[in-house]
Symmetry: C2
Subunit: 409 residues, 2 copies
C-alpha cells in the first residue's frame, strides 16, 4: 500500500500566500468593479531593467542558432554568473568567495525548502517568530516537528522577536542544531548589525550548529556600515550557508533566479561526531535533483552586475524604498506604530487587533491587500506587513484610502 | 550538533553523468587536439525552433514593459500552458485531463526526484533494472533503501529487464508500493504496448500501489497504435502520475520546462488505510517549495503546441530518429546486437564486455563518448547506451571511426 508522508497532514490547511490569494479572489469575484491595490505578497511591479532585458534577449537569440545553442548547463550554474556574483556581491565587500561555492538556482524559496534535506530528521530546528513560513513548513513536511497545537508546532524552537528587542531573535535557550536567520528580515524589516551576527556565529561555533542565513533583501540595506553578508563575520564560513535571490534585487520574481553560497569550510557532523563538509553534499543533492537554471535567465542575471545593470537595479530598489518611506510616514501620521521600511521593503505595523480581522477590514473598506502578521507565526499576532512593492501612484492611492479610515486602535 | 542525513552516505561516489563528465574532461585535458564526439548524455544539439524562439522573445519583451510585466506566476504554471498541454498531448489522444491536473515545472528530473517526498519513508520501491539513476538515488537519499552491497542497494526491488523480455520489466515478486516505469525507456529504448501497461495498472489497483510513469520520450513514439500516455489505459488515473518534459521533445534541455500530471482521482493511503488524494498534496509541496517556471520560458513552451511549433518540433524529433536508425544499422553491420532506437533516441548495445572498459576504449580509440550500461544498474552490465542526439555529420563521423575498430566481441 502506497502510504503518504504522514507529516504533511500536520500542516495547517494552506500556505499563507495561497490563503490570502483565496480571500482576495473571493472578494474580487463578489466586487468585480472595485479596484484592489495589492501591498500583500512581496511581489515587484517594475519591469526588468533594460540591461537585463538586452542580455535576456541575446541569450534567447543564442538558443535559436546552432552555433550558439546550449543544451544542459552545469547543475551548479554557469561560471560566468558565479564569477559575476563572487566579484559583485562578495569581493566588493571584502569577502572572498570562490565562484564554485555559489550554486545558482531558480529560487531562494526552493533552496530554503530543499537545503534541510541534507540533515538528519532528528535535529532540533530554531526559527525566529514571526518568520517566513517556508522555513517552518518544510521542516514540518520533513518530520522534524510534532503536531500543530495552540498556534505552534511541537518540537520547534520559536525565537520570539518582539518590539522590545527591535525584532531581533534571542539566542535559543535549548540547544538548536539548525537555525534560520533572515536580515533584512521578512516580515518585520529588522536589520542586524555586526555585533548581532557575531553573536550568532559564536553560538553556532560553540554549539556545532548551522545557520541558514536568508539574505534575499540584502540590496535594501542603505547603510554601508551594516554587514551585507553573514560571511563578513569572521568564522561564519564554517557555520553558515547564505541564500540570496534576484527577485527583489532586480525584479526577477517571474523570471526566476537565485543562488546559495556554501563555503567549502562549511561543516556538519555525522552520527559519530565526525566533520562532514556540506559543499559536496549540496552539490550531490543539486546534481541529482536539479538541472540548472535556464541559460537565457542566467545571462539576464549576469547583466545585473554590469555598471549599467547596477545603476538600473539600484534605481529600482531606491524607488521601492521611497515607497516604504511614504508608507511608514503616512501610517505613523495615522497613529499606528510602525517598524522596518528603512533597510527593507516591508513595513511591519502594530495594529493591536487580530491581524486577519484587520486584513479583512482593509480589503473590504479600502480595497487594500496586506499580509496578516499572524500568518508568520504567533509572534506576528496583532501586526500586519505592508509591502512597498507597487507603483508610486498605487501606494499614494492606497495611503489616501487608508487615511479616510480610522485605523489606529 | 547539526547532523547530516546519513542516507546520503550510502550513495555511490557520484552521479553517473558527473562521473562521465569527469572522465571526458580528464581525457580532453590530456589530448587537447583530439575532437570528441559526444553520444553519451542524452542532450539535444538542434537549436530551439523558430516558433519557440519567437514566443520566447515576445515573453522577454513583455517582461521589459510595465504594462505587460509579470511578477510571481502561479506555482502550478500558467493556465495558457496547462491548457495547451491538456489539448495537445491528451485530448488529442482521447484522454481527458483537466488543465489544473497539470503542474508545470523546470524539469522532469526535479519532479521525479521530488515526488517521492509525498510518501512514507518505509514504503517499498520497485525500479526496472537497468534504470534511470535518479529514481534510485533520490530514494536512497530519502532513506528507503539499505546499504550499497554487491552492486545493488538493499531493500530496493530491482525488476530485471533483459533482452529475453524485450527489456520490459516483470511484475514484482514481492509487493511494491511505488513503481517507476519509463516508456519509451531510458536507457534501453524499449517501448510498452497497451497490454503491457494494462498489466501494470491492474497490478497497481490490486496492490494499492502507485506508478510514477516517466513519459519524457513520448514524442519519439512513431507508431500511433502504441499508447503515448499511461492515462490511455482505463483505471490509470487512480494509480499513476505521469512525468513529461520538453527537453527531448523540443530541445529544452538548457531552457528548462517540463510537467507532471496528477489526476484528481489519483490516490495514496494514510496509516489507517484511508484514501488520500495526491493532487492537493503535490500542490502543497509545489506551493511551499517551488515558485513556478520563468514566464518567458512558459511562453516558449506554449508555442510548441501551435501548428507551426508542432511541425518544427516534429521535424527535430524525426532528425534525431534518423540518426538513431543510422546508428542501429551501422552497429548491426559491425556485428553488435542492438536494441531500441526505433521509438527512442537511445540505442542499447550489447557489447558483451565490461561497459566502463568499453566506454574507456571508445573514448581512447575513437574519441566517441557513450554511456556505460552498468551506470544504469547491474542489469546494464555488458551494454552501452548510444544517444542519437547530435548532428548528422557528427553521427556519420562517429560511425566511420567505429567501423575502423574491431568492436564486435
Amino acid at each position: 500500500m502506497i502510504r503518504i508522508n504522514k507529516h504533511y497532514q500536520k500542516l495547517k490547511a494552506s500556505y499563507l500566500f495561497s490563503d490570502i490569494a483565496g480571500r482576495v479572489k473571493a472578494y474580487q469575484e463578489a466586487h468585480p468593479d472595485q479596484e484592489l491595490i495589492k501591498l500583500g505578497i512581496g511581489d515587484v511591479t517594475l519591469p526588468l531593467c533594460p540591461a537585463c532585458i538586452r542580455a535576456f534577449e541575446e541569450g534567447v537569440r543564442e538558443m535559436g542558432q546552432e552555433e550558439s545553442f546550449r543544451g544542459y548547463g552545469p547543475e551548479q550554474g554557469y561560471l560566468f554568473l558565479q564569477k559575476a556574483i563572487a566579484a559583485g556581491d562578495y569581493a566588493s565587500r571584502g569577502v572572498s568567495i570562490d565562484p564554485e561555492e555559489i550554486f545558482i538556482s531558480d529560487g531562494a524559496k526552493c533552496d530554503t525548502g530543499n537545503f534541510q534535506e541534507l540533515f538528519s530528521q532528528d535535529i532540533t530546528v530554531a526559527v525566529p517568530d514571526p518568520v517566513y513560513t517556508v522555513y517552518v513548513d518544510t521542516n514540518v513536511m520533513a518530520g522534524r516537528t510534532g503536531e500543530w497545537k495552540n498556534g505552534v508546532y511541537e518540537n520547534l524552537i520559536y525565537l520570539s522577536s518582539g518590539s522590545q528587542t527591535a525584532f531581533l531573535p534571542p539566542l535559543p535557550r535549548q540547544r538548536a542544531d539548525l537555525i534560520y536567520l533572515c536580515f533584512p528580515n521578512n516580515p518585520t524589516g529588522a536589520v542586524a548589525g555586526r555585533d548581532e551576527l557575531t553573536k550568532w556565529v559564536a553560538y553556532a561555533q560553540e554549539n556545532r550548529s548551522l545557520i541558514l542565513f536568508d539574505g534575499c533583501y540584502e540590496s535594501y540595506i542603505t547603510d554601508d556600515a551594516l554587514p551585507h553578508s553573514i560571511f563578513e563575520i569572521p568564522g561564519a564560513k564554517e557555520v553558515a550557508v547564505e541564500l540570496r535571490s534576484f527577485s527583489k534585487t532586480a525584479g526577477f520574481t517571474g523570471t526566476r533566479c537565485a543562488f546559495t553560497v556554501v563555503p567549502r569550510e562549511c561543516r556538519a557532523f555525522n552520527e559519530a561526531g565526525g566533520e562532514v563538509k556540506l559543499h559536496p553534499l549540496w552539490n550531490r543533492r543539486q546534481s541529482t535533483k536539479f538541472n540548472g537554471v535556464s541559460y537565457p535567465v542566467q545571462r539576464a542575471a549576469e547583466a545585473i552586475y554590469t555598471p549599467e545593470g547596477q545603476k538600473q537595479v539600484r534605481e529600482q530598489v531606491a524607488y521601492y524604498l521611497a515607497n516604504a518611506a511614504l508608507i511608514r510616514s503616512a501610517l505613523t501620521d495615522l497613529g499606528l506604530e510602525t517598524f522596518g521600511g528603512v533597510h527593507s521593503p516591508y513595513i511591519w505595523v502594530n495594529v493591536k487587533r487580530d491581524s486577519w480581522e484587520f486584513f479583512d477590514e482593509l480589503l473590504a473598506r479600502a480595497q487594500v491587500v496586506c499580509t496578516p502578521g499572524s500568518g508568520f507565526g504567533p509572534g506576528g499576532a496583532g501586526y500586519i506587513r505592508i509591502s512597498a512593492f507597487n507603483s508610486r501612484a498605487n501606494v499614494e492611492k492606497a495611503l489616501s484610502r487608508l487615511s479616510a479610515l480610522r485605523l489606529a486602535p
